[in-house]
Subunit: 755 residues, 2 copies
């Protein structure tokens, strides 16, 4: 991404854009010890970035951890010390040069030794290491990195609670869709750097937009070392690579510039996600460029405003109004259609920018404009945000707290302050990031944090101090918002998704799930042949979350499938039925949440992807990037402008009156011209035209409610019906819903039966 | 208070406890000008502390502002500049001495000039002035203080919204029980100080208690100037005045001491509000004491914990649990019975420590353990908190934001940061202060602030940075809490207080009102004789809030009185009826809120006192400190241990079944032995014994629900009945309820009629 822009800039400019830093790669070996001060018996090759678990498995020719229950073999690796080692010859250093060690991230607590000197130690995987080695250099040098055992709160059961005193994603400790597998080791890029002793540590371009967006004042905040005798050159380029502003000076006065009539950064489908590029160069006394920092800049204003109708909802005695959860970008309220983004890999070290890009491309294909980067997972790397910047995807970033009570002990708060500082200072630069959240589901029974929890007050303060540009919420859900349900039919109330979503009125649906099985191909890869069919507990189906994962028989929901369809005779039939429910269930929620706009402002399902192949899960994409049928169903339900039907249940019987309420859903920022929708019922080869709705012009960002179509269901031998909405001359707005049809009369459905 | 402790300390110690600071009093004159750079035409005597309005009125022999509508004459004073002037001769200064100007508070924006040098300027009344005059001293000196016009947001209607961009109590801009009268001028103590150039600016004794309260580590934070060559002596005294710890050293290392098995500070009725005294002395190189700072220290741990039953209240889809609002002191949950404390005077400059003490003594008489120092009012002076420290009263302190949207403009945030820093640093020293709130009713329709408002995020951060010892809430009410109702019978639903309080389930009732008229004596003082009876709109009844103050005909509620009692023939009859409703209404709420413990944790009425004599108001004390009958009724309902009856309505008719549910309410921290309660109905001279309840031992801090007493109401010619609960041999637990009785059968009450 940045390379692309640089190319343009290089073509249009004669500036020296090359970073003068000389980077020296390192080769690593790794081994383990039982106690800290031992030497490892055995060293083997380490891939950096990576994880010690993967290195060990490779060195010992282990089969893939995602097959069957192979992951359980990794258990012991949590509790040993891992020692990385590398050696290098002292490079040639000019008079004012220094040699630095840089690591993007080391997971989790570690010490760095150079030739038997402890030169750095840290608890925390999100704060990069940048440390000066020069003092202790010899002709031949050895660096050892001692990685401590995985952090675990003592005295609690094995599980996520063990993560509740560390700033490490809790998901690795086991979740209902994630095996217990706790990564360790160097998970970011790592090398030596020869640099001048005057350096730029951080350059942050902040900006202030006028109320009518006709001007942006940009201000540079520079953190560095030994800047006294230096000067700087600061160049701003537009998206075409042309220089639009240049400043050259000594340090001292504030560094600002004004952009008149700036191009704004807009999210997907709202305009162009316009990106400027800033190149900030540090120069020594002779004018040589000695350091460079670049930043992509998207100019946009983010507000979190009250949902329509929430001020008025009060009765005496008065409580408070629901907190705001409508995202406003550049003065425009955006209905957020999106998904919960979880870690794409068990081991974050192996995530590449390509991996991110392909997944984000899928999100765009699904017509999503928002990703909630869920707090149980890793914080996204730079390339995640960079691609979202480029594509106009909004990112809601959660700090790594999830489903635990993170008690504000002095030690925990100290690490959280350090880590949140690093996270905020990095991510605030990305226009795609638009919302901070303290973490996931922290104000609920199973977590038991409160508004008084010091950790959340600290995060609020950190965001206030470092990034007032983006709103902060302490957690999700807040009052008025909804998490759940996660099944097609509630185990207790026996309500189907169609009923409970209609009976709920939330300001934002920021988690709702609908389980579906993986494809037959995937199942065959992860489940041994002798366990494959029929699915049973205590097999690889269970370790891959088909049984006993959450409530009841999730995520496969075998009982429910049997109830709707009878016992499946083949794996293929079972998968098809499960995926059918997932498709229709997700459609029902996404479209009803959209119908509830503007009181409702978000529809974000649980979840998008998965970090290993599950047998069944709420995800719409199987690991690594294989869409389930529900992916395409969701993509359809998230089209900016579309025909939609509100349907009351899944199963229909001949002789009943089928009915569906017609809508045009519209999140577009311009008016939609009038048109015509035909409602058609298909059963087998029978097509019945129910009505034609001539809809009027549709106002900017407003839905339109139409007529209710009704028809007496005819006799047929089919077992499904499809309800079609065909938009004349606008095929791209068409929708259809495939439901269960039954020719037999069932006594329990007496109420609606006419014949 | 501090004097009392000092006396004891002086008697037991031979330390030099006298503050070496030489204070020089000043005499002031004041006048006004239309523009800033004019000299006032006329100067008259100013009382300091005080207010320019009072000085002007005194100089011009105006009648009291609280009579009739005299306050309206003060309007023009809002918009002029007020100039204070004083002169003094240069005092003799030793080599290292400096002359400082000190002012406890100047309201609101001002400049201080010495001999035509601008030496200080500030916006904000809560940050004291302490500024060095020495450089510009001449033989004869003149100080001028220019006080700017009252701050007003432009472009909005006259009223509280004008206060929404200043850190000045909004109540002065007019409220439904407060005239529009905006104080200006020097409202705190003010004098010159001759001091050494090495000074203590602030000394804060912080402490950490162990979990089992067997040790306290005290730490001193010193802010001062020119401390390099100085040493300190720090003495800690117990409540009896005996020295228990002494440290002497140079500055450098951290200053701490440990108290083993410390005495804890307990709120009223929970134990002794034990106070230690710290005396911190600054010494010059020869060992002379050159500055002294004292602090009372009450050692206690405050937590805001979840209300019982609030974690479990959830259904799918999940939102969040209600935020915590149960105060826990030293590990013990405290049910807060209290009241909303408003400014005792229109002009805060005239509030003396005596005035505070007499009002707080009343609060104690009312069995209150908590005062909510309401955010529309002034922040309490030192003597307010000192007396609460001594008496064990818990104070909930609100920042001065109320019922407005305080938009986070850079200018407002800057002043708010300065003022909140001063407020927090002062008030955190007082053990009585146990809860910070961002302000009053800010998350409601009529205010329209949200969790995103920068002002509230700033205050949360400020409290996190400066005072983690005390919890912070952004505003009241939060979710789960209740504000209102404020009338005996709801205007719309026609529900009486008995019904709506029973049908409500709140975590805390932190505002509920019940209007009542002032006594006949007071009414005769404030309402001209020709307007006195019957009360009418557009008279002094209205300017004193009897009509048109809030909804409907509040606060006199003439329509309702007529409905219950028919038209009153005399002022005395009217007042008696209004006060009767206020008594029974308040009893109903306080006692039902207590019955809802532990889900409910607070019963705090609106309001305690009033800053000028109202004709009718929710207050239970008339200005300045005259209890209404409701005061005694509330005091009864707030006894730590008492018999209580749950009654369903106010008006009863012969032939109906009267019924009442019997309870023992108990907030005591020890078990209550068993006993016997007799339920007796009194109508005229008829006494009917309904039942005797033998109640068992009552558990610590738990209520006990007893039987429901029932009786067929006999014929009588009386118009009231009284239901008595007599506790055998424990008269102090007795309760009684006086209700309306009617001999006529009314058709609308058919339901309950038997005969």
């Amino acid at each position: 991404m940045i390379t692309e822009n640089f190319k343009k800039i290089s073509q249009s400019s004669n500036k020296a854009l090359v970073d003068p830093t000389k980077k020296i790669p390192l080769r690593w070996n790794v081994g383990f010890t039982e106690t800290k001060n031992q030497e490892p018996k055995d060293l083997f090759k380490a891939t950096v970035p990576g994880a010690v678990q993967l290195d060990y498995a490779t060195a010992h020719n282990w089969p893939p951890f995602y097959e069957a229950d192979n992951f359980k073999q990794y258990d012991w690796m949590e509790d040993v010390f891992w020692i990385y080692k590398t050696s290098f010859k002292k490079p040639v250093l000019k008079a004012k040069d220094r040699l630095y060690f840089y690591a993007e991230g080391i997971d989790y607590q570690f010490e760095i030794w150079l030739n038997n000197h402890l030169i750095f130690k840290q608890e925390g995987m999100f704060t990069p290491v940048f440390t000066d080695l020069t003092e202790h250099l010899e002709k031949d040098n050895e660096i050892s990195i001692i990685v401590y055992p995985a952090p675990k709160l003592k005295g609690v059961d094995v599980g996520r609670k063990q993560a509740s005193q560390s700033v490490k994603p809790a998901v690795s400790y086991g979740w209902d869709w994630h095996p217990r597998l706790i990564p360790s080791g160097i998970w970011g890029h790592c090398h030596l750097e020869v640099k001048h002793y005057s350096i730029l540590e951080d350059v942050y371009i902040d900006y202030e937009l006028t109320d009518n967006f006709d001007s942006a004042i940009l201000t540079v905040e520079v953190v560095g070392q030994n800047l006294d005798c230096c000067s700087y050159t600061w160049c701003m380029y537009n998206e075409d690579g042309f220089l639009i502003s240049e400043k050259e000076d000594k340090f001292g006065d504030s560094i600002t510039t004004e952009l008149k009539n700036p191009q704004l950064w807009w999210p997907l489908d709202q305009g162009n996600p316009y990106l400027y590029t800033s190149i900030f160069m540090l120069k020594d006394i002779e004018g040589n460029v000695i350091d460079v920092k670049n930043q992509q800049i998207g100019l946009r204003k983010v507000e979190l405003v009250m949902n329509s109708g929430t001020w008025e909802l009060e009765r005496r005695p008065m409580s408070r109004s629901y907190p705001p959860i409508t995202i406003k970008i550049n003065g425009r309220e955006i209905f957020c259609k999106g998904t919960n983004w979880v870690n794409p890999e068990i081991f974050p070290g192996v995530i590449t920018s390509k991996r991110y890009q392909k997944l984000i491309d899928r999100a765009i294909e699904a017509n999503f404009n928002m990703l909630r980067a869920w707090g149980g997972s890793i914080i996204g790397k730079e390339s995640f945000y960079e691609y979202c910047n480029e594509k106009g995807i909004l990112v809601w970033t959660e700090f790594p707290l999830s489903c635990n009570n993170y008690v504000g002990t002095p030690r925990y708060l100290k690490v959280l302050e350090q880590e949140s500082t690093s996270i905020i200072k990095r991510i605030r630069k990305h226009p795609s990031h638009v919302l901070w959240s303290g973490g996931n589901e922290l104000f609920n029974d199973w977590s038991r944090m409160t508004d008084q929890s010091l950790a959340l007050r600290l995060l609020n303060k950190q965001c206030y101090d470092l990034d007032q540009k983006n709103p902060f919420i302490p957690t999700a859900p807040m009052a008025g918002m909804a998490h759940g349900n996660y099944v097609f039919k509630d185990n207790e109330t026996k309500e189907e998704v169609y009923q409970w979503i209609s009976n709920t009125k939330a300001t934002a649906y920021t988690e709702f799930g609908m389980p579906g099985p993986a494809s037959v191909d995937i199942l065959k890869k992860i489940i041994p042949e002798n366990e494959l069919f029929p699915p049973r507990r205590n097999t690889s189906w269970e370790t891959h979350h088909a049984f006993g994962a959450w409530l009841g028989d999730t995520w496969l929901q075998l009982d429910l499938l049997n109830e709707y369809f009878g016992e499946a005779k083949t794996l293929e039939e079972l998968v098809a039925n499960g995926q059918w429910l997932q498709c229709e269930g997700y459609k029902a929620i996404y479209e009803e949440a959209r119908r509830q706009k503007p009181y409702c402002s978000m529809a974000i399902n649980w979840c998008f992807n998965e970090p290993w192949p599950t047998a069944a899960n709420n995800s719409i994409i199987s690991y690594p990037n294989i869409p389930k049928p529900s992916f395409y169903a969701v993509a359809n339900s998230c089209r900016t402008v579309m025909a939609s039907a509100k349907i009351s249940k899944f199963g229909w019987v001949e002789g009943e009156i089928f009915e569906a309420e017609l809508w045009v859903l519209n999140d577009f920022y311009k008016e939609i011209p009038d048109g015509q929708i035909q409602a058609i019922l298909e059963i087998g080869s029978t097509y019945i035209e129910l009505l034609t709705w001539n809809y009027s012009d549709i106002k900017v960002n407003q839905n339109l409610k139409g007529p209710t179509a009704r028809v007496l269901l005819p006799k047929s031998n089919e077992n499904k019906l499809t309800f079609h909405l065909k938009v004349v001359d606008k095929e791209e707005m068409n929708s259809s819903y495939t439901l269960k049809y039954d020719q037999k009369l069932e006594r329990k459905k007496d109420d609606n039966i006419l014949a």
